[in-house]
Amino acid sequence: MKQTEKSAISVKNLTMGYGSFILQKEMNFEVKPHDIFIIMGGSGCGKSSLLRVLTGLVPPLAGSVWIQGTKFSGASADKQKEIMKNCGILYQSGALFSSMTLAENVALPLKQYTDYSEQTVRELVSLKLALVGLAGFEEFYPSEISGGMKKRAGLARALALDPDIVYFDEPSAGLDPISSKLLDDLMKNINQSLGTTLVVVTHELSSLLDIGTNSIYLDAESKTIIGRGKPADLLKNPPNQTVYEFLTRGKQKNVR
């Protein structure tokens, strides 16, 4: 539960894209431990692709990604797997396995990566589900719960191995405002109580302004980062017109 003070994630001169198509180039940023780090930007700027690069699903075209001081991009598959044991991911839809109960879904990484006894696995599963407000839902299948509950169950699975870093891909997508707020509060609680670093891809304004402690803004046009800092500070002192318009849902202002 305690992270060392070195960067949680460090991205150096990263260029990403598909084939000859470049999405973002020469990106440099650092995610500090215990941050709630927001990756924001308009549609098609490469937010989700960046998440895929950070989680090793897609290799970068150039540059490197370092996780907790260890080079992640370009590392062997075994090494990447070892590093990813310390990272959890919550996908947009929750990505729960429909043939398994919530308890089985959460227990899957515990059984795969630890040699805990059955009793401890059961207790840990109940704890993780309780942490996300799903106490008592162990025997439910994903098809029997709502969209918001699926996301929370997905979060319980992402937290199963006590990761230092958790990635979120559009956590508020498809949720009603109340469920979205509850999920935001939950993310803040987990960040504060577990000290987990959260990397959140989102363009949900209320959410990113509420929870973000640091952020980058990816611009689709210039294909690079054009804003960085705490989202609330960026709103007060926007670095450019694009970031201001994004954070105010299209309001115009002369930004110097």
């Binding site: 539960m1 305690k2 429909s98 043939s99 630890t114 040699d115 805990y116 006894s117 009793q119 401890t120 207790e123 840990l124 109940s126 704890l127 993780k128 309780a130 942490l131 407000g133 799903l134 106490a135 008592g136 839902f137 025997e139 439910f140 994903p142 098809s143 029997e144 006590d162 609680n189 987990i190 504060q192 109580s193 577990l194 000290g195």
Partner: protein
């Protein structure tokens, strides 16, 4: 790491020393939980002054202890716990619900039978409605006002026609070859191996050609129909069609039925001749029957009635495979597993219905003397 506890008067003191990382000692934990349940214990005190690093394996122990204290209404003294750990315990115990789950409710035998009956009747109703809608769509097609895109029909024709030629040709050739081999073993003992030609010809054109094509197309095309339409169900595309007022049976089912009904008799034709070629290959090369002789016997055995009965089987099988594929696709559930189940059911039920209908057709052929 050290988990120790001792009871003095009414207080259970739990000593947490060192790092608690991946702590897993089931017996020790059970002993602690039992001690906490003891009626004489009125207070649980945590001594975490020497606690080092910790992870969830410690949190589960503390959560259980706190829950026990809350349930029993006794004091839980966690003053020495670090703040983040206290916060985590509060978060874990913030929501305490007991949702009712259907699987926890037990049913008696009669209820079970009743449920099965209701479910059977519902399935029957669903199947007959689907069948009715499908035939209604075919009727609308011939009347000229079915809502179907021609491009869908051409695409379906391409999928189950030209693309299936090679597999049907190859499998049927092999079946003819096997029939000839198996027949020759018996016929050779009577010196009647030349009748292998008749055996293979009658076997293939009357039923084997149609059955082979049916099985191949059920596995190839029927499964594909169920998977495609099932995935559309998962992606809510079928809901979109319904809300736009477009009949699913016209838009999705009709082109697939037409494609298979048109191509199946043609594939049966190919299968018949491929099978005969396979038989001829064995007859002329391995059994030493002169080619001219072989084809003379084959032609004599080739009856138009048998041939037409075979084609009719193909036509019926085309309906069966397309209906099964589309039915299980349209009534697929809304998750990844359901698509797999729909695909399996489409193939299994298509084959079952083909066998059942073959029996019925054979019976009627016997009755009318064909």
């Amino acid at each position: 790491m050290k988990l120790d506890f001792h009871k003095s008067q009414k207080t259970l003191t739990v000593l947490l020393e060192g790092d608690f990382l991946h702590f897993d000692a089931p017996h020790r934990k059970t002993a602690l939980y039992e001690a906490a349940q003891n009626n004489t214990v009125r207070e649980i005190t945590l001594d975490a002054r020497s606690l080092g690093e910790w992870d969830s394996s410690l949190v589960v122990i503390l959560t259980t202890l706190k829950q026990t204290a809350n349930t029993r209404g006794i004091l839980f003294n966690d003053q020495t716990l670090p703040d983040d750990l206290k916060q985590l315990l509060d978060l874990a115990l913030a929501v305490n619900r007991h949702p009712v789950h259907d699987s926890n409710q037990t049913e008696d035998f009669l209820e079970h039978i009743g449920d099965w009956g209701l479910s059977f009747m519902a399935s029957l109703h669903k199947g007959l409605t689907f069948l009715g809608n499908s035939f209604h769509s075919v009727g609308r097609f011939f009347a000229g006002y079915a809502v179907m895109r021609n491009v869908d029909l051409w695409q379906a024709l391409g999928e189950c026609g030209p693309k299936a030629l090679s597999i049907v040709g190859l499998i049927s050739f092999m079946v003819g070859l096997i029939l000839a081999f198996v027949g020759a073993i018996q016929l050779k003992t009577f010196g009647a191996q030349v009748f292998v030609a008749s055996l293979v010809t009658i076997g293939m054109i009357r039923i084997m050609g149609a059955i082979m094509v049916g099985i191949i197309m059920a596995g190839r095309t029927g499964a594909s129909y169920a998977a495609t339409i099932g995935t559309m169900q998962v992606n809510e595309e079928i809901d979109a069609l319904k809300t736009m007022g477009i009949p699913v049976s016209d838009f999705l089912v009709l082109p697939r039925i037409l494609a298979l009904v048109i191509t199946m008799p043609l594939l049966v034709l190919l299968s018949d001749f491929s099978g005969m070629l396979g038989g001829a290959f064995v007859g002329t090369t391995l059994l030493g029957i002169p080619a001219e002789e072989y084809w003379k016997y084959a032609w004599n055995a080739f009856g138009l009635t048998n041939f037409l009965v075979g084609l009719f089987h193909g036509l019926v099988f085309g309906f069966v495979i397309s209906l099964c594929g589309c039915y299980f696709g349209v009534y697929c559930g809304r998750n990844a597993d359901s698509v797999g189940v729909a695909t399996t059911n489409a193939v299994v039920w298509a084959i079952v219905w083909m066998i059942v209908l073959t029996g019925i057709i054979t019976f009627f052929c016997e009755v009318i003397g064909v």
